[in-house]
């Protein structure tokens, strides 16, 4: 392995940030195997066990896939890789120690394998279990042990959106807002917590609109289209409320990690939280009852 230079370090950090986008956008529909087969924890546990990460670096035991496998989830995944790549305050500089490079290499290989397994669990099934996409798509059929009715599957999508909005509002923004410190900002090592907020919200909006990117909507096959059929005004209201969140988040200073003592930042965080609260309320107050009554 060639020693990293400024260029390769920059590329590695960029790759981390880009991977993060996809993952955070998927959290709105992370039901099913992500939780039960431990993939979520392996990829994205938080906080990092910094003492034990330091112990791995200090140790002389060779780093192998088996060693990585035996580590706690708080010593691997996104945030440990983040810590090693960015340092504790986005302040890490070259050179990296050989041990750091080894640890990083094996962490990313394990990460990749877990991500593949997660995908496999949905599209083909793992450990002899049925593909989860089939389980979900056959909701309401008599042998389906997860979703005895189709309504339950629709509710799953709505609850996924609500869970995501709730987590961003209550935990990811709410807890640091109350504490007024960076301690609980999720991606504080890389100074990208704000990107996490935005991507989580984008994920919730994507789940609502049945799209992966803005252009991928299949028109007609989405919760949004269904709501529009039942109540066009409600659908419009939701779209506007999502827009309002994006606007509020866009007004936050970047990176947010260095601005947590600025009252203006805290005020704008509160504005963002309120905007998220608003669309959460709309889902719980109006969409959920509509699904229960009519889906």
């Amino acid at each position: 392995m060639l020693p990293p230079d400024e260029g390769t370090l920059k590329a590695a950090r960029k790759a981390w940030i880009e991977t993060r986008v996809v993952w955070e956008q998927s959290e709105a529909f992370a039901f099913g195997p992500a939780g039960s087969l431990g993939y979520d924890g392996d990829l994205d546990d938080w906080p990092v066990n910094e003492v034990d990460v330091a112990a791995v670096l200090k140790d002389s035991k060779p780093i192998t896939p088996e060693l990585i496998n035996s580590l706690q989830t708080t010593q691997k995944g996104f945030h440990t890789i983040e810590l090693l790549l960015f340092g504790t305050n986005s302040n890490k500089v070259l050179p990296f120690s050989p041990r750091e490079l080894e640890y990083l290499k094996y962490l990313t290989l394990a990460f990749d394998q877990t991500a593949q397994n997660l995908k496999q669990s949905w599209v083909a099934g793992v450990q002899g279990k049925p593909a989860y996409q089939t389980v979900f798509a056959t909701a309401g059929e008599s042998q389906n042990s997860a979703y005895p009715t189709q309504k339950a599957a629709v509710e799953e999508i709505v609850q996924g959106i609500m869970g995501c909005l709730d987590e961003v509002g209550k935990e990811k923004i709410g807890v640091p807002l109350t504490a007024k410190t960076t301690d609980k900002l999720e991606s504080r090592f890389s100074y990208t917590s704000l990107e996490d907020f935005k991507n989580n919200i984008q994920g919730a909006e994507n789940a609502y609109r049945g799209q992966i990117t803005d252009s991928s909507s299949k028109g007609g096959e989405s919760l949004s289209a269904w709501v529009a059929q039942q109540d066009p005004q409600l659908d419009q209201k939701i779209q506007q409320e999502f827009q309002a969140i994006q606007t509020a988040l866009a007004a936050l200073p970047k990176p947010i990690e260095t601005q947590m003592t600025d009252p203006a930042t805290l005020t704008q965080l509160k504005v963002s939280q309120d905007a998220i609260l608003k669309v959460f309320e709309t889902f719980e107050d109006q969409v959920l009852p509509l699904v229960k009554a009519k889906a």
């Binding site: 959290e27 992370a30 039901f31 099913g32 195997p33 939780g35 039960s36 087969l37 979520d40 924890g41 994205d44 546990d45 938080w46 906080p47 990092v48 066990n49 910094e50 003492v51 034990d52 112990a55 791995v56 140790d59 706690q72 989830t73 708080t74 010593q75 450990q127 279990k129 989860y132 389980v135 042990s145 997860a146 979703y147 005895p148 009715t149 309504k151 339950a152 509710e155 799953e156 709505v158 609850q159 996924g160 869970g163 995501c164 709730d166 987590e167 509002g169 209550k170 935990e171 990811k172 709410g174 807890v175 301690d183 609980k184 999720e186 609260l277 959460f280 309320e281 719980e284 107050d285």
Partner: protein
């Protein structure tokens, strides 16, 4: 961060939540009028019942919490979700050095059950009661610092094993050996219904290797337990002792082959022997002690009830985690009007499953007002029953014998694999389906099991459809 359910803690939301709650209660009352009998009631948890049949169904606050309760519930949610790390640390310091998992929710995944796998499966151990010392059992007595001697209330029938204590912590902070390694091998068993339909069951065999590489001596008693779901437990805490005593029939005076008795366990706060309710052998008296024991023994997080030398968490955090499990709502039943489900419910009664899985109970007083005076449908009597040699762990636990288990509550059962796909049933997760769980019933439940086996296939399906509607 992992995704968790829950709701907003903002006053503005709460006002609205209140209104919504009122509407929900009104709707629920209405449905109770429409379905007045115990059978067919959707209100599994009385007024705490939540209408949610998605994977977040076990994560909902009880529907009848006040605004103040809700705030406390959200604080508890954060405590239950908190992932602990090795001290010192800015956030959640206190893990280990020995542990099984680093968060409550890591085992009780999405508040449902865990899998029979490393990090979730617990192995309780003890030496045989007649063995005065354990010198022959542990070839190299571990030093006091190299394992975790559990904080438990000493009882005579589970003497601790040197180097392990009474629970195996199979994980440790980096650089320290775990107490032991646990590997599960599954043994398959073939069976046949009287009508000729074949079925397959499996049972676990634990291969336990101590830290120095030697196998666990065979005399040591072991009990494998998966984490059970944690919703609705506040309601079970609110059932009066007298009710449980009246359900008990230790001498089987009604001659139905089913006896049942409460466990008697030690309450560390009261310093008294009381009825046991929690844990798979009803080995804990209340949710506070259960949670405190979980922190210290499952996570290595010392706390005000079990401080060891210092407390990693304060009383407020311990109370918050306890409040969280007390104040979770119970999901409403589904498919109430489905004819197959209705027939299955009838068959459940006919097969005398209700001798243990008591359909309806009434709660008494509880410090959390929302739990008091509720008519609930837990499908459990919380009593210990002899389940036969097939399910026996042969390890006693207070009054519970090596063949006895607490009747598993069946509410929310149909959501098990919605919340946690691929999860399994019974105390050690051996049953891959509800059907397998019923087939394992023996001992006092042998007659009920035989009745189930003897049913026409159509009827067996109907009974399972009913269980899935819970």
């Amino acid at each position: 961060m992992q995704i968790f359910g829950g709701r907003w803690s903002k006053p503005k939301f709460l006002k609205w939540a209140w209104l919504c709650g009122l509407v929900a209660i009104a709707t629920l009352l209405l449905s109770q009028i429409l379905h007045p009998t115990a059978s067919g009631s959707p209100l599994a948890g009385g007024q705490t019942t939540v209408l949610n049949r998605s994977s977040t169904a076990y994560e909902q606050p009880a529907a009848n919490l006040t605004a103040t309760d809700l705030e406390e519930h959200f604080a508890g949610d954060l405590a239950f979700d908190a992932v602990f790390v090795t001290p010192p640390a800015r956030v959640n310091a206190g893990l280990g050095p020995h542990f099984n998992n680093s968060s409550c929710v890591g085992c009780h995944i999405r508040n449902g059950r865990g899998l029979p796998e490393k990090g979730q499966l617990l192995v309780r151990v003890s030496r045989p009661e007649n063995q005065k010392t354990d010198q022959n059992l542990s070839p190299e007595p571990a030093s006091l610092n190299s394992y975790h001697a559990e904080d438990y209330i000493a009882i005579e029938n589970t003497p601790p094993v040197a180097g392990l204590g009474t629970q195996i912590q199979d994980q440790a902070v980096y650089g320290q050996p775990p107490e032991a390694q646990v590997e599960i091998n599954w043994q398959e068993h073939q069976g046949k219904y009287p009508d000729g339909t074949p079925y397959q069951l499996r049972s676990p065999q634990a291969l336990i290797t101590l830290s120095k590489g030697q196998p666990l001596p065979p005399q040591i008693k072991t009990s494998l337990r998966i984490p059970p779901p944690v919703f609705g437990l506040g309601l079970l805490e609110a059932i009066p002792d007298a009710t449980l005593q009246s359900l008990a029939d230790p001498e089987d005076q009604n001659h139905d082959g089913v006896s049942g008795r409460p466990n008697r366990v030690w309450d560390g706060q009261k310093q008294a022997e009381v009825i046991g309710r929690f844990g798979l052998k009803a080995n804990q008296p209340n949710l506070f002690q259960q949670s405190a024991a979980a922190y210290v023994n499952d996570m290595g997080v010392t706390n005000p009830l079990f401080p060891e030398s210092n407390s990693d968490i304060d009383q407020q955090t311990l109370k918050a985690a306890t409040f969280y499990v007390q104040s979770l709502g119970v999901p409403a039943r589904t498919l109430l009007d489905n004819p197959e489900v209705k027939k299955g419910e009838h068959l459940f009664t006919q097969a005398n499953c209700i001798a243990c899985h008591t359909a309806t109970l009434q709660t008494g007083a509880h410090p959390l007002q929302a739990l008091a005076k509720q008519r609930i449908h837990p499908y459990s009597d919380l009593l210990l029953h002899d389940m036969g040699p097939g399910l026996a762990d042969n390890r006693p636990d207070f009054l519970a014998s090596g063949t006895e288990w607490r009747t598993a509550p069946l509410w929310g059962l149909g959501l098990t694999q919605t919340v946690l796909p691929y999860s399994s049933f019974l105390h050690d997760g051996r049953a891959r389906s509800i059907e397998e769980a019923v087939l394992w019933h023996g001992g006092e439940a042998q007659t009920a099991q035989k009745t189930f086996k003897g049913m026409k296939e159509r009827d067996r399906k109907a009974l399972l459809a009913f269980l899935n509607s819970l």
